[in-house]
């Protein structure tokens, strides 16, 4: 059973694992068709449950049949045991009866006179009754022939009596028996009982041959010489069922193979034992313990069709029965014992529980499958839903992007209005300050537009989708822009703002200017937020430079700062950078790549500083030092984390050092490619990017300036900015040095820049200096470098007769050049013409031969007029083909403006053909287009155009584009 169970479980496990395999298989096979799988599974589940119901029924049947078999076996063994015992005991009794027959033959017939009489026999049998526990009595009948009857009757003193009448009325009382019996009728022979045990004394004198049963018995016994049994019958007197065992007593010993006739003739008499079967079996069963559980019936089945019950209640029960054959030594008679259990068989609980248990387990497994399936279906549904939601979310995201794009576009439009108006404002007569304000406003406006773009990019950063551009840009110009952006705020707060870019830093680098600017803007923005007094100083160096000066410049920086206030030591902010601690001791970070420029940028401020406890989480998004800060200063706190991310993208690192109440210094490194090595080839591009300041620089090229400033750091900044205009700069610490330098005959000093601080220190010395300056009279201009407007105003009051021009910090090349131009412009005679770009355009375009191509006559006329206004020599062509002919080399055109959308041959195609024709030389071709979008720009570049201008012309943009290709013809001299 156990083995079976094990097998069953194995099967079960196999099935389960098989199913789970199938699940996988199916999952992948039917991933698309859920419907099919569902019904398939349902069928499988039903089959599974059905199968297990069958299995459990089988188990139930199997186990209960096992139990039945066992019960049957038990019954059989019990029954056989009883039958054997009964048989044994019977045989023992029978042997005794046989022994008695020998006794009779020996002592009754063998002796003369007989040694046995009725009394002896009775007493003997009485005393030996224990030997025959099953016989209720023994009697001996002698064979009497009819011829001997009388003699015999006389001898015994009674007549032989008939038995059959006796049998008919067995209920009569003992004493009346003898008298009532009739004498036996005349027969051939008789077998009257002569001896009988006391218990059966009433049979004495009865003729055994007269009773039907007895007669047959007697005849059979003497013929066979063996013990013979009667059929069971009601015993006389006791009225219980019994059988009579009869042995024949022979006169002589007969051989075992004697024929029946010999036996009959040798017969002397018959000894009979009465067996009380009922009590016999009763006694026997009492000896055995399990009497109460088993019902025993004994039958005489000599006549097969009518078995005669010898023992046992005749309860007919179709239950389990076992039949054991009994052999009582009489071949003629057959007996059998039938055993039944008294109780009905108990319920086969084991089988029931086992099968039910298995069924339950199977159902549970089925349920688990079902649940799993449902779960899978549910998960799939959820997955499906989720996908749907994802789709929707993506759609929403797209919608959001579109919304942002639209909104930013919508913002750009009014911003363009603002910028346009500012540009117009710049065209009016303004003094240097006003011009700078307007330019700052314009720059800030442009920055705002950029910012809107950056808002869009921020989402990209968050999703990690950001990619850096790689384009050449002028680092210094970027710095100026940043400075311009913050100069207004710095003015408001009275904080000095300065930028310094080391000379070692290449002019052009290749990288992502927007992102670079973004980082710096972020850092500067933070600094300006938290700085109330002092300065903010932005420096750019090469990493190599810093590394070399690392050891030297440790102690000097304590007091030597821009505003004189102590600052946090910047060098400590980058001590942790990997670039400074390369593995091993290899010196330069990337010695092999001379193309790479490792920049280190630091922003130093004298602000509040970051509390020590907040320093670790400065770069965590949305973390601000204190919630109150966002209330006080605004901002989201994401700036630094974005910066960190961007710096990481530029293969750099960012770090900071901050001392509360002294200030913070943020430093980051970034790796760019060197854009200078090929600057000669890409001159136009470089110039385009440098635009204004570049043209200005030509104005001041070769001049010499003197900067009077006792603070080396500040002087360095001033020098850096002035040098950018192409002016040679000398630094002096005070007026005396300055004067001696100016009076040096070898060189002419064109301008002197005096730090406001120096100027205000002592007005008399300042006045003296002016006086001396006038004495020397080299046409030297004097400029004050002032921190803010207020100070410049007070200054005007103090120095009476000669008011130097004040250049308001922060210094930046463009503003400086504007101021210088204004101051110098007095000499040129047209001081008030501030329409800068339009003037420059005249410079650029005067006398140029320019081809305009447009199919639209009106456009052509307008463009023609516009360019002619700037002094250009204009030729018009109204189709691409004409333009082609005109531009067939050699030609004398300096530039070509080409409409894009033209019938027959559009601008792109015309340009392509023109470029193909060009063997040497390259005529700048600019597209004229109404919709200025990026795609068009790229398209322009692809087919060999150099740029595009908006149609109708816009002065500023036209200038920007044209200035890239055309050098001003008339260089303005002083």
């Amino acid at each position: 059973m156990l083995g079976d169970g094990d097998k069953m479980w194995l099967k079960c496990l196999e099935k389960v694992s098989g199913n789970s395999c199938k699940i996988h298989h199916l999952y992948y096979q039917y991933i698309g068709s859920m419907r099919i799988r569902k019904t398939w599974w349902r069928k499988l589940l039903v089959a599974w449950i059905g199968c297990w119901i069958a299995v459990s029924v089988w188990i139930f049947w199997y186990m209960s049949s096992q139990a039945f078999e066992k019960r049957k076996e038990t019954l059989a063994s019990v029954c056989d045991e009883r039958a054997r015992m009964l048989q044994d005991q019977f045989n023992v009794s029978m042997n005794h009866v046989q022994a008695m027959s020998i006794l009779i033959s020996t002592f009754h017939h063998g002796k003369n006179p007989s040694a046995i009489d009725q009394r002896t026999f009775a007493r003997y049998t009485e005393r030996t009754a224990f030997e025959r526990p099953l016989t209720s009595g023994v009697a001996y009948a002698v064979r009497v022939l009819h011829s001997e009857r009388e003699q015999f009757e006389n001898q015994q003193g009674w007549t032989i009596k008939r038995m059959d009448t006796f049998e008919q009325s067995p209920v009569q009382k003992d004493d009346s028996v003898a008298e009532a019996l009739e004498p036996s009728p005349i027969q051939e022979e008789y077998a009257p009982v002569i001896f009988a045990q006391d218990t059966v004394a009433h049979v004495v004198a009865l003729d055994m041959l007269s009773g039907t049963e007895d007669r047959e018995n007697v005849l059979r016994a003497r013929a066979s010489g063996k013990g013979v049994l009667t059929a069971p019958f009601r015993l006389l007197k006791t009225n219980r069922l019994g059988v009579i065992l009869t042995f024949a007593v022979y006169k002589t010993d007969l051989p075992s193979n004697a024929i029946p006739r010999e036996r009959i003739q040798a017969t002397d008499g018959y000894i009979g034992g009465i067996f009380d079967i009922e009590s016999l079996v009763e006694k026997l069963l009492q000896q055995l313990a399990s009497k109460q559980t088993i019902l025993v019936n004994v039958y005489d089945i000599t006549n097969q069709s009518h078995p005669i019950s010898m023992y046992g209640s005749n309860v007919s029960d179709d239950g389990l029965e076992h039949v054991s054959a009994l052999n009582f030594g009489d071949p003629f008679r057959k007996h059998e014992m039938r055993c039944r259990f008294k109780q009905k068989p108990p319920w086969p609980w084991l089988a029931i529980t086992t099968s039910i248990g298995i069924l339950v387990i199977a159902l549970l497994i089925g349920y688990i499958f079902h649940a799993t399936l449902n779960r899978i279906a549910k998960v799939e549904d959820d997955c499906h839903k989720m996908r749907e939601l994802t789709k929707r979310a993506e759609a929403a995201d797209v919608a959001k992007s579109q919304f942002l794009a639209t909104v930013s576009h919508e913002i750009r439009t009014p911003m363009n209005g603002v910028l346009g108006m500012l540009q117009m404002l710049m065209g009016t007569a303004l003094d240097a300050n006003q011009q700078d304000y307007v330019r700052t406003a314009q720059d800030s406006g442009k920055a705002l537009v950029t910012l809107i773009n950056e808002v869009l990019d921020q989402a990209k950063i968050e999703s990690g989708k950001i990619e850096l551009e790689a384009m050449p840009f002028d680092l210094r110009a970027i710095m100026d822009e940043v400075l311009a952006l913050f100069s207004g705020k710095a003015h408001e707060k009275g904080v000095e703002l300065a930028v310094y870019v080391s000379d070692a830093v290449p002019e052009m680098v290749i990288g992502d200017p927007g992102r670079f600017r973004q980082i710096i803007t972020n850092l500067m923005g933070n600094s300006i937020k938290f700085t109330k007094k002092g300065h903010i100083f932005l420096t750019v160096h090469l990493v190599e430079e810093v590394m070399d000066s690392m050891d030297v410049e440790t102690e000097s920086s304590s007091r030597n700062t821009l505003s004189g206030l102590p600052v946090a030591d910047g060098s400590r902010s980058w001590v942790g950078f990997k670039i400074f601690n390369p593995e091993g001791s290899s010196h330069t970070p990337s010695p092999s790549s001379s193309d790479l420029v490792n920049l280190i940028v630091s922003v130093e401020d004298t602000g509040e500083g970051i509390p020590l406890e907040a320093q670790p989480c400065v770069f965590t998004p949305f973390m601000q030092v204190d919630p109150s800060i966002s209330r006080k200063y605004g901002g989201t706190g994401i700036g630094l984390s974005i910066s960190k991310c961007l710096v990481g993208l530029m293969n750099g690192e960012i770090g900071f050092v901050s001392i509360p109440d002294i200030g913070s210094t943020f430093t980051f490194t970034a790796v760019f490619s060197n854009g200078c090595c090929n600057s000669n080839d890409s001159k136009p591009q470089k110039q385009r990017l440098k635009n204004q300041s570049n043209t200005m620089s030509s104005t001041f090229q070769g001049m010499t300036a003197l900067v009077v400033d006792p603070k080396p750091v500040r002087a360095k900044v001033s020098r850096y900015q002035i040098q950018r205009l192409g002016i040679h700069v000398e630094l002096v610490l005070d007026f005396n040095q300055g004067l001696s330098s100016i009076s040096n005959e070898n060189k002419a000093v064109n301008m002197v820049f005096v730090e406001q601080e120096v100027w205000d220190r002592d007005s008399s010395i300042s006045a003296l200096f002016i006086y001396e300056l006038i004495q020397i009279d080299q046409g030297t201009k004097l400029f004050l470098l002032g921190n803010s407007l207020s100070s410049s105003r007070t200054n005007t009051a103090t120095s009476g007769f000669y008011t130097p021009s004040v250049i308001t910090k922060p210094l930046k090349a463009s503003m400086l050049s504007a101021s210088l131009q204004r101051a110098m412009g007095g000499n040129k005679g047209n001081p008030c013409n501030g329409e800068h770009s339009s003037l420059s355009l005249r410079n650029l375009l005067a006398g140029r031969k320019i081809l305009i191509v447009d199919d639209n006559e009106v456009n052509l006329i307008v463009a023609d007029a516009a360019l002619k206004k700037y002094g250009a020599d204009v030729v018009c062509a109204d189709s691409g083909k004409k333009a082609m002919k005109l531009l067939k080399p050699p030609h004398k055109f300096d530039a070509c403006f080409m409409d894009i959308q033209m019938p027959e041959m559009d601008g792109f195609e015309a340009t392509r053909i023109i470029r193909d024709m060009e063997s040497n030389g390259h005529i700048p071709i600019l597209a004229m287009t109404a919709d200025v979008i990026q795609a068009t720009y790229e398209e322009c570049q692809r087919c060999g155009m150099d740029g595009y201008v908006s149609k109708p012309f816009e002065a500023e943009q036209l200038y920007q584009e044209v200035s890239r290709f055309l050098q001003p013809i008339t260089s303005v001299n002083l």
Partner: protein
């Protein structure tokens, strides 16, 4: 001089009106700036050229739109032309209608195109009348011995 200043006032009011109503935009002002001593009739020249052009284009488009199968590509190129020239002279309203017209062409919306064409025609006539008035005023100023006021 009284008449002159009066006329100047009128012309200033009128051009302010034209700007306000969106008939013309800054480009027109720019155009006026391009006028100098050598070519005093520059604006009138350009504008009349524009209207000639305009009339031609409108006729062409009308013809194209009457066809059984409308060649929208051709109409589109006409509209593009008109758009370019209107933007060049600063005819803001026509320019705007052209933008809508172009969209209709791209959508191949015949009814829309016809409606836009009517609108263009209408705007052209209006602008023509308005500019005529303006030029008349200028002529009167010149006739009165003054010069046309410089635009701001």
């Amino acid at each position: 001089m009284d008449l002159l200043s009066q006329l100047r006032g009128q012309i200033a009011d009128f051009s302010a009106f034209l700007h306000r109503e969106g008939f013309v935009d800054d480009q027109f002002t720019q155009l006026q700036k391009l006028r100098d001593e050598s070519s005093p009739g520059f604006v009138v020249e350009v504008v009349s050229l524009f209207f000639e052009d305009c009339e031609k284009l409108v006729n062409n488009m009308a013809k194209a739109l009457e066809q059984q199968i409308v060649d929208f590509k051709q109409v589109d190129s006409h509209v593009h032309q008109l758009k370019g020239s209107s933007s060049s002279i600063g005819a803001a309203r026509i320019h705007n209608v052209c933008i809508a017209f172009k969209t209709c062409c791209e959508d191949q919306n015949r009814n829309g195109c016809v409606r836009c064409l009517q609108q263009v025609n209408h705007e052209c006539i209006q602008l023509k009348n308005n500019l005529q008035t303006l030029f008349n005023l200028e002529q009167q100023i010149i006739a009165a011995g003054g010069s046309i006021p410089a635009k701001q």
